[in-house]
Symmetry: D2
Subunit: 260 residues, 4 copies
């Protein structure tokens, strides 16, 4: 498997970034609400994709939601209750790094939820999503796919690369032996929750850079024409020589030493 | 002003990223709470720095707080009330993209707060921060500096580059004519709020990449020894040939076409 | 119309209070979640009924939800979003003093919501409530009825009695001329939202005390057997003469002077 | 000890209720924020007093805050963090049924907090309260006192009266043997936190009705002149015979049967 080169990736990414920025402007201008769920294999590349999408958008407009495990009280509430406060308001783009589908994925496979809870979730989720879609929220659900070979490579990399080691937890040791169980859980999930109003979109992430481009392109293509002109800004000359910082009480600390 | 080249930046950044990751591991293991405020000139580089710090840390551990303007009800509450819910719990690293210091900066200079409100804020904020610090929260306050020349260059770039255009708002037109007023507001703020328990740290961001390295280096140096070993993981062989995705209901969408 | 006398009311209320307390014990022991919506005519008696129900229950278990009008941001969110965080967790009894049905009642009649918004709400609400009921939340919807004669009497009382004057607002002046419009809105609402899983229960509140007894009796009758014994408490003798307060720094303030 | 008779209590209460209502109108008109903490002996009468104060005030204006025990995450946050979101906005009256002082009372005496945590709390709380008071919040702290004889009587009543049995928990068995330890903890708390800006007010609750009158009278006397006229309402004649309910789909349920 030949990974895409960074140079090529950046070249292909650039026009997409322009569209992402235009899309954000459109959402802000029109008050559109966009909600994207990222699910998929461990190591597939959810986090990197979310970073790539949010990189160019105002953080006051684009929120990433990565919820911790539910508290004891939350576990007794309506299952969707802890997710609802994070849904987008007018103009917002919300990216869910994992979502309510935890119940049908990791919780099912690792046994954190009972079969009854999983079945109930699968029955209810299309209705919940229908309510959001009927309210006008644009909801997108991506499932990021990777072969076990790619997964093992990335696990190995995480084990060796100190920059990535935090991504590994004891739970992963068990999870990687359950590749097939995850496949089954996914198929059950698709069967129950791939609906007209909120379809799943599967993206091949065996090459992560290629996967990102595919996903972003797809997301943009699913939106209506988002060509909204820039707000006009009348930008006058400054009219005087630019000023320097005039420090009084405190001065900048010594800069990072550059090797020469 | 010669901007640092990307290659050089990435080379210098790498060891710092290793330390950021180690710092995050330390915070998680020990339950330390880290809270960093980013203030400074418009265009100085707050957003880019926050992205550079958070890039390598688990988004479930590192939260970016970029609050919208207060609601009508919030405006009548205790001034700090809307910030408090975002303070870090055990193990969390919270990065504030602007903060409660809005009142002494943009609100003061643009006239959104009365002089009384500003004075009151400046009197109270050291006490508020003392409470946090006494509680054990590690609080860091960075002020990012840039000359008006650098600022004008970046404004011009934002005006021309569609990827950056969203960063400009009508308020910036007015703000850029108030460079000196911002300087004065800053000095007043430093005089009132540069304390032993929560000192300001000024960083020169005339070169943004250099500024980032300086700030990250400084932040890491202010923390105690954060050398915490990785959790041991017993990582067995997979024990069988790696599996392929076995799609049933849905298959991956067509990949992004690569030019050849 | 002869109003029930307080003595008679209290005599009839007492056994009901015992049942309410037993019901709360049952909810706490079993983790049941109870959610009661109070809607109806202005002046019908929602507030008094809520006070009568909550009077005997632990305030840590029984929450009253009386939301203010939505903020600008909330107005752009999913319609149910601001209500969801208040839904009951295990063991909780939540009493909604007005609810999401505002949209079909006051907002419709007073023109605060467009006909489109009202229609959409009426289409969606049975689905929303079905999700809650399927999740196991026990949901009850009461509509408190009063003739215009009773309403006018109570408005007059509010106008004259300084203890009740705060209950009147300029909006009431308009609302009382719209008695029939409220009737029509109610019928439309019943037609769309009186479902098997979440039926409406209408209670005659022309006599408020009688109405309260009727509603509480009905609520209790709709619950399954809630006879859960008290937790056993082994309550030993104190074993010494009871102690007096031994004040040091501060002493009680002078008691309220009793006329003699 | 002769308890005040209900008739006498109600007679004395009535003028106080008029003042409470006037006070609420004043807060609403002027945007004043009122925050009252209720602490004191178990069984002293916190809950009943809170109910008596809130009974006559708009529940949209007067909030009762009775927090459950902190979650695991909350326990690692800044100690005051979970209380801050409940502080009053403009016009609000917030009644805390127990408060941040838990740490110096029950948590200290029952050993739920370490001595270090208690000491730290006692050092910090005057500063925290000063911030609120300086912000303009009107903060009142009441400590309700009762002799052990009164306490034992009320415990016995709770044990026997099924309506009050829920107020007893296993923790009370231990707490009642610690009457003196609570006294000591109270004195330590007063020594550290009875300040000019937020003084403690001790009220004798050996007779609960008398105690309530004393506390309410005191609270009202501590506020400035709150005489704000009613908003003028132009209340026209109805202009037609009052209408009856005209039920279509649903009719009122059978009224509660009155014994005759």
């Amino acid at each position: 498997m030949l990974a895409m080169k960074r140079k090529q990736y950046e070249k292909l990414l650039e026009p997409i970034e322009h569209e992402l920025v235009a899309m954000a402007r459109w959402a802000k201008t029109t008050g559109e609400r966009i909600c994207v769920l990222f699910e998929g294999r461990d190591t597939a590349g959810k986090g990197g994709t979310i970073k790539a999408i949010s990189a160019r958008i105002n953080p006051r407009q684009c929120r990433v939601v990565a919820l911790p495990k539910p508290s004891d009280v939350e576990q007794t509430q309506w299952y969707f209750q802890r997710y609802v406060p994070h849904l987008p308001a007018a103009g917002e783009i919300v990216l869910f790094d994992r979502s309510w589908y935890n119940r049908a994925g990791v919780e099912k496979v690792m046994g954190f939820a009972s079969q009854d809870q999983v079945d109930k979730f699968l029955r209810e989720v299309p209705t919940f999503e229908k309510l959001l879609v009927n309210d006008g929220i644009r909801l997108f659900k991506y499932w990021l796919s990777a072969s076990q070979e790619a997964q093992e490579e990335r696990f190995a990399e995480r084990l060796e690369d100190p920059l990535k080691r935090w991504k590994l937890s004891p739970i992963d040791i068990k999870a990687r032996t359950l590749y097939e169980e995850y496949s089954k859980a996914r198929e059950t999930m698709f069967a129950a929750t791939h609906t007209d109003h909120a379809p799943w979109i599967v993206v091949d992430y065996n090459d992560q850079k290629h996967g990102r481009l595919t996903l972003m392109r797809d997301l943009l293509d699913r939106l209506p024409n988002f060509d909204v002109p820039h707000e006009d800004l009348d930008w006058p000359e400054l009219g005087h020589a630019p000023l320097e910082e005039d420090f009084g009480k405190l001065r900048p600390i010594a800069p990072f030493p550059l090797e020469d």
